[in-house]
């Protein structure tokens, strides 16, 4: 056993494998051992694919596949389908489901030599900000086991922060990559909508969902971003354009002359002091590195949360209609006498958790005749105004910045019975989903409560490279890539 292998970055791991200092199988085994040791505490992984991981690692060692991330282990959010490997999306309704196909990003990662260790915990169907809505129990934050690792992608963030894997995949509909990254001191990017294929991503809100990378360093995230991004004819919303030069930007990290806009609306009441202090220091750091910092107003961002909680549940209520107990997934009450309709109702009652039911109800209501114009229709108009706020801002600045979340990691149990308080965790991350532009969370130090603070960078559509430029500059200046060395309680 070589425990120190789990402390390496993805870049360092790949370099050691390429130089034959260590084999990919040894790296995979070290991580599998680490998972066996601490997953009982973190509940980060729902399924561990030991055979698949070792088979892929052997391919790398045999030289069958090469690349900058060949042999690097990865934690895959369980909302991404994997052929012959169980996929649940954190729901009882898909318990035991073995998908018959791979998501496009899974194929791309396999071709790049990445070793998928298993599937990670998440809020059911990615609806939540804490993993407490997982049907398989909450994941725990490696910084403080009584706190949430964020959500919905808390399994991946906990795995990356807890040194169970150097890389992770998340999906971000309203902040589910960036908020978990912020509260675990890791890096997470939501790429431009359409930049990464959604083929094989179990749909929550199709106009907002986007998969992206999680990592401990900005360059590691960029390398993974480059592997999974690019046009896919199997996703009709995939953008047919060159992948932005994210890796070059992460290596360069020069922000001199860059125009940085601080979002005025994301400050003040409701923001924890320790978050505000670290955020303002990071802004000053960027200014010190030669960035041109100005304050920018995006007046409609104040309505983003409300618009999101109409649009996303509306789309979800339609997307989740497919769980009808007929062709795959759970079937309850099929006694030979009950009708298909009765079986569907019994199955959905038993298979969906409370948050999923809440959102289906909310979405169905917002779309119903008589309420459509006042709720869903109006939310779509607000979405237009938020997009215009971004477009106006990007005529004068290159990127927008804000805290990723108003607070550091909250305690498990603290918000689970108060849906609105839970929704507030995504206050700052939602606008980029509604607009479609890319956004990243990069650590900017610890709050006075000793917990990590996330710094959010938002960029125009298809300017994902700017995130990595700013993220890398901040990381170098603050040493945030070494923040996780302080996680020693596992």
């Amino acid at each position: 056993m070589t425990p120190e292998l789990t402390r390496l970055t993805a870049v360092e791991t790949a370099a050691k494998i390429a130089a034959r200092e260590v084999t990919a199988v040894e790296v995979a085994q070290a991580h599998l051992d680490r998972i066996a040791e601490v997953n009982g505490t973190l509940n980060a992984f729902l399924h561990i694919d030991t055979d698949g991981a070792l088979t892929q690692a052997k391919r790398v060692d045999a030289g069958e596949v090469e690349g900058p991330l060949a042999g690097v282990p990865l934690a895959l959010k369980d909302v991404i389908v994997t052929r012959n490997v169980p996929t649940t999306a954190g729901s009882k309704i898909l318990e035991g489901w073995i998908p018959p196909y791979d998501a496009t990003i899974v194929e791309r990662m396999r071709d790049a030599g990445i070793v998928v260790l298993g599937k990670t915990n998440m809020d059911e169907f990615a609806m939540g900000s804490s993993t407490e809505h997982s049907a398989y129990g909450a994941a725990h934050n490696p910084w403080d086991l009584e706190r949430t690792p964020g959500g919905s992608g808390g399994g991946s963030s906990a795995a990356v922060a807890g040194f169970l894997a150097p890389l992770g995949i998340g999906t971000d509909t309203g902040g589910s990559i960036r908020q978990p990254a912020a509260v675990t001191g890791t890096v997470g990017t939501k790429p431009t909508y359409g930049g990464v294929s959604r083929y094989g991503l179990i749909a929550f809100s199709s106009s907002l969902d986007q998969a992206g990378p999680c990592a401990r360093t900005v360059l590691d995230a960029a390398l993974l971003h480059a592997v999974i991004a690019g046009h896919d004819p199997r996703d009709s919303t995939s953008i047919d354009a060159d992948v932005p030069p994210v890796v070059d930007a992460a290596r360069d990290g020069d922000v001199s002359g860059m125009r940085v806009g601080v979002v005025k609306e994301f400050a003040g009441e409701g923001y924890q002091d320790g978050v505000t202090v670290r955020f303002e220091e990071a802004v000053a750091t960027l200014a010190g590195l030669g960035a041109d910092v100005v304050e920018v107003s995006c007046p409609h961002f104040d309505y983003a949360l409300a618009a999101y909680y109409l649009i996303a549940p509306s789309e979800a209520s339609s997307n989740l209609a497919r769980y009808d107990a007929m062709r795959y997934g759970l079937r309850v009450g099929d006694d030979g006498d009950a009708s298909a309709e009765e079986v569907m109702a019994a199955t959905r009652a038993a298979g969906f958790g409370a948050e999923v039911k809440r959102r289906i109800m909310l979405g169905t209501y917002a779309l119903s005749a008589g309420y459509y114009d006042a709720y869903y229709g109006q939310a779509q108009k607000v979405r237009t105004l938020i997009t215009r706020d971004f477009e106006n801002a990007f005529t004068t600045v290159d990127v927008l910045v804000s805290p990723t979340t108003p607070t550091t990691a909250f305690k498990l149990g603290e918000r689970v019975d108060d849906p609105l308080a839970m929704y507030l965790a995504d206050l700052c991350t939602i606008p980029s989903n509604l607009y479609g532009g890319p956004a990243m969370s990069v650590p900017c130090g610890l709050s006075d409560d000793g917990l990590p603070v996330g710094f959010q960078v938002m960029a125009p559509v298809l300017a994902d490279d700017r995130l990595y430029r700013v993220g890398a500059a901040l990381e170098r200046a603050t040493g945030s890539d070494r923040l996780l060395e302080q996680v020693t309680n596992l």
């Binding site: 007929m326 062709r327 409370a354 039911k357 709720y375 609105l420 559509v461």
Partner: protein, 79 residues
């Protein structure tokens, strides 16, 4: 949903609805709606045949199957 679920959720949904109802405070009468971040129309893929799932693969996850088909509960009323 069970009665106890309904009791708990009715109050929560009231609170959520009044919160998301904030969108109505925005004057947007002449604003066009956005349904999608990336405006795309008529996306086609090349019309070439490719292998799909075999019946066996498609039925592997079925709750019940019979004679290469999905077996479902009755869909018609008794009368």
């Amino acid at each position: 949903m069970s009665d106890s679920e309904l009791d708990a959720m009715a109050g929560q949904l009231d609170v959520i609805l009044s919160a998301v109802g904030r969108v109505q405070q925005v004057a947007a009468a002449d604003i066009p709606p956005t349904s999608h971040a990336v405006p795309l129309t008529n996306v086609f893929r090349p019309d070439t045949a490719a292998a799909g799932l075999s019946a066996e693969e498609a039925l592997a996850a079925a709750p019940a199957a019979e004679q290469d088909r999905f077996r479902v509960p009755r869909i018609l009323d008794d009368e």
